[in-house]
Symmetry: D2
Subunit: 344 residues, 4 copies
């Protein structure tokens, strides 16, 4: 069977495997205070064009999200996000478990707008009973979103302006950032993205690493005591160098960007193959996740050779399923799928 | 100025004041272990027809809500309620602060339906990734709702059935229960209500008491260790008898029910007076809170003599405001208001 | 039976009862935004000589303690206190429930020293693995302590100096502050106390009020958003004026100080009566709580007429018990007890 | 420089590296639902002789500890442990951050006794104000302890008896379990240990794995919903098979036990070498951590070639330092150290 179900079904990019094997030959300082962690951070700072940024590593996306939010918010403050936001629907209430309310706004294609955020923030600002409601303090966006869509530079700039106007922090969940930056409709570079947000994380787990996410504080003062939050929240790896050297590898010779480019290219071929057969996307995605609407015969036929992810029953015999590419998707696997789609 | 803005602008019903004064003559056992607390509980058990119920007193509604929820839920579980539910919008995120996600469903007239609850619970039951989402465990309803509306016996029975089907606890916030039970469209008695829910609280603060709410566990086993939760959550009054004797007073000679009846009668007169002038309710309420739509001239004219609560700007020069009656509303105050409405 | 078991077995001082009764004649603004709350705060500011202080009311001591600590600490910070501190032993883990570690230091007569605090703070300052341990951020003291003892001005000044040196906040739990200030060995006035601490609370419940504690932020900036914390933690009374007018009454004509003086005078007579019989204190207390060591015959004899609080079995037929005076202790009750002690 | 400072300065045992490399060739099911996770669990169940045990993997020790405690305790319950317990001193208050009080008892050589635990539990059982204090619910032990010492079977059996008597759960932190089981004075096998405790974790990070700990619920019913707790607490690895195959490797051909045996043997040689020079242990340890007392000249001399961990200044020019062996310690490194100790 060929896996197109997700972007985390293989261990790690060969370059990462090799780096880990090489790193195994030496002894290292523990808890992320080693040279590899510093090197990874330096390469990230360079790639995003922000020499003053502070970089910390965490083990997974859920952990990155709730740890960052715990460090940035006070108990009476809340998070604004799309109602489809990962923290709102797929993290077992981890943010609430840390004590914070999430205010989910109705999404369109996985996204929310500057106007929606402003309206929500204005409710608090103009309230005469502020102590009875939570204060919005942080906007959580995903880039790409849970549906594979992209915020444009104009959209993100407008959101940044609202954040400045209302004293909100802007945080971007970049679990699949490599694939987002590579999208044709992403008109931002990494440095441009970094200049618009306060904090974001660069996803490793789904973008070539064995595991790990790099949290980037574009404003270093926001990272104060963050190592205490990491430890308290179970994210401090004794062998921290494992994270540092993976990110150092990903940010050497543009590996991270290249991984994104290749997978997105493959995804676009798949999108076109489906379109050529009149099979329409559930949501138009320009990144590595393709959500398409299949009938049951098509599902069965493709299901003989491919593992895809079932999303939901749309009624009338039609179903939404996901095909994902990733750093591990092989050209011959794509070629085979393209042929099989054409033969549907 | 005459106050119709809310139902908590006066200290306490004269019978309560007298009982507190009389109780001041003696020494009492502390922390709610005195005879008054037991007497209040016994009278409540009798009034609701459930000899096995367990009764505990708390100091206010927010505290009652989050303490009950903290005692009944485990960290991965969540609460279903109307998006307009008090816990969701006016308690500064207290439930989330205790670690629990609230799943707000779109309300109609302040209410949610058995079907909505079933659909939400079914999402979890049929999920194949249960560990990534929270498990709905408790349904929170308000009776009357935040808009003064009432769940009928049929509606509540249907919700009970869904709760049984999906293993959900049913909890009713009765901050204004006296006014709810007294409503013409409330086709339930207290014993009938108690037979349909797992836990509810009988509001004191807004229904004649100086302060305090009585939490009733219709299934006593749910109250296990509840005194520990009360203490940990700041609700254990050293002079607990203050609560016991207030509720003993409210549940002697049907005072609680009578308070509700009188205030609702007054509210209905006000509703009719507005209707007679063609002034329509924002939402049809059969209880002590009347939400009406006024123009600015009407607001100014009534504002000369009455304090009402401003709710929101409906646009086009129209505004929603609230007129509230309560145990403290005097007949002559109502008469004056009726005349002034007629003269608008 | 005559109650000497605690200082919260009667409802409220007659002046408080009268003020509450008078306040019942009018309508008030809700949630502590009324004139009584402001008047009480103004009188407290005057009594402590700090016009810039911010005053908020809470409903009980446990609630005051955990709400203040929640507002002042970040999640990785901790509280230093005596191992016998009320928050450490009698509040059902409320501070930990809010997420904060308590570092209990061995007490002597209920107190800890500046040296102990400095040593604990130094452990963090000199640690090379700060992110693995919590950062001490607040010192909690009780005045008087749980054993009725007093910090002298010199002791408190030394602790203040350590707090300044290590960036610690100094918070005093004044559940029985009236009795502490009145103690012969308390060489501080309220203004002197207020000049040495960051935050303290003036106990009402045990010092004449029906219920309620006044939290005083001597540095107003520490009170930022405190009303949000009050609401979130269940402490915002709808009828907030009940608290304001109680404290306004206590701080009119030195009622609060007089309550303390009288009860301490009575306690000293009891102490002397016991001493005259060779009955020794368990701990020397200069305030309204007297812990004495009785044998079983003495316990039985006094137990015929008096209710005292049993503390613990000291072995050898000797037991520690507590006799408490308070605002409600009558002169004739004391006279009777003195005679009965003399007759042992 | 040769590293004897800790047992986590190298990446992973060669067998683990090879297994990870081999596993990289295939696609896997995510989130720990793959065959490797099941195989690892089966091998562990076999090794501990408990076919009914439930095994879950977490990423590190702090995370394992607070996630297990969060799942097993209710908010008013607390944990009993040695005051030197890792959760009490080196996890940044993570357990309190999850809401639970830790009751640290004075340790002797890193251990607490059944008598101490019974006395603490008895305080609650015999308390008449249970709602004011936390209820001890879980005993946390480390095996080996933070000082490298061992609970004997008799000691653990006595603690088990106390736990049964008082309704306490018994949890063992086995971060270094391989080295504990291998100790000469450890008179328990893994199955014997498993028969005495409710939950324990088998440390991977310090015992040969790249990262990861296996939590074993000896009573499967305690593991109910544990996957929800794992996800909510940031411990659910997308590529869960990485953990499964590491533990499958460690529990194939007794690798885990052999790793322990070799490192302990090396540590004993080092202990004897120090003793032969009259250099005494700070605490007698029979496991891979050796705490010895050096003077400054000795420290300087050994510091030229070896990295050890500095513990604390004992005064009088004497210092406690730690030499650690581990799976990665090479025979020639030990030989060199032995010679250099002999030459001191």
């Amino acid at each position: 069977m060929i896996h197109f179900n997700n972007d985390y079904n293989r261990t790690a990019h060969p370059a990462i495997m090799q780096a880990l094997a090489e790193g195994a030959a030496e002894s290292h300082v523990g808890y992320g205070l080693d040279g590899w962690c510093e090197k990874g951070a330096a390469l990230i700072r360079e790639a995003i064009g922000r020499p003053e940024a502070e970089v910390h590593y965490l083990l997974g996306g859920t952990q990155a999200n709730y740890t960052v939010i715990s460090a940035l918010l006070r108990p009476f403050q809340s998070v604004i996000c799309a109602d489809s936001g990962h923290i709102n629907v797929h993290e077992t209430g981890a943010v609430e478990h840390c004590g914070f309310k999430i205010q989910g706004l109705p999404m369109t294609d996985g996204k929310i707008t500057a106007e929606q955020i402003a309206a929500e923030a204005e409710l608090y600002r103009s309230s005469e009973i502020k102590e009875h409601i939570t204060q919005p303090r942080l906007v959580y966006l995903s880039l790409p979103t849970e549906f594979g869509t992209i915020y444009t530079k104009a959209e993100l700039t407008a959101i940044r302006r609202v954040c400045d106007e209302y004293g909100l922090l802007l945080y971007v969940d970049g679990a699949r950032l490599a694939y987002g930056i590579a999208a044709a409709d992403c008109d931002m570079t990494l440095p441009e993205l970094a200049s618009l947000v306060d904090v974001f994380y660069i996803g490793g787990t789904k973008c070539g690493a064995m595991f790990g996410e790099a949290v980037v504080f574009c404003r270093a003062e926001l990272a104060e005591n963050f190592r205490s939050y990491i430890k308290q929240n179970g994210g401090m790896l004794a062998k921290g160098w494992l994270l540092g050297l993976q990110f150092a590898t990903l940010f050497t010779d543009e590996l991270y960007l290249n991984i994104g480019r290749r997978a997105v290219e493959q995804a676009m071929q798949i999108r076109e193959a489906f379109a050529a057969k009149g099979i329409m996307p559930y949501i138009e995605s320009s990144t590595n996740q393709q959500f398409v609407v299949l009938d049951e015969a098509q599902m069965a036929q493709l299901g003989e050779k491919y593992i895809y992810e079932y999303e939901k029953n749309l009624g009338g015999g039609r179903h939404c399923v996901r095909f994902c590419t990733s750093w591990s998707t092989q050209p011959e696997e794509v070629a085979e799928l393209l042929a099989d789609i054409a033969a549907l």
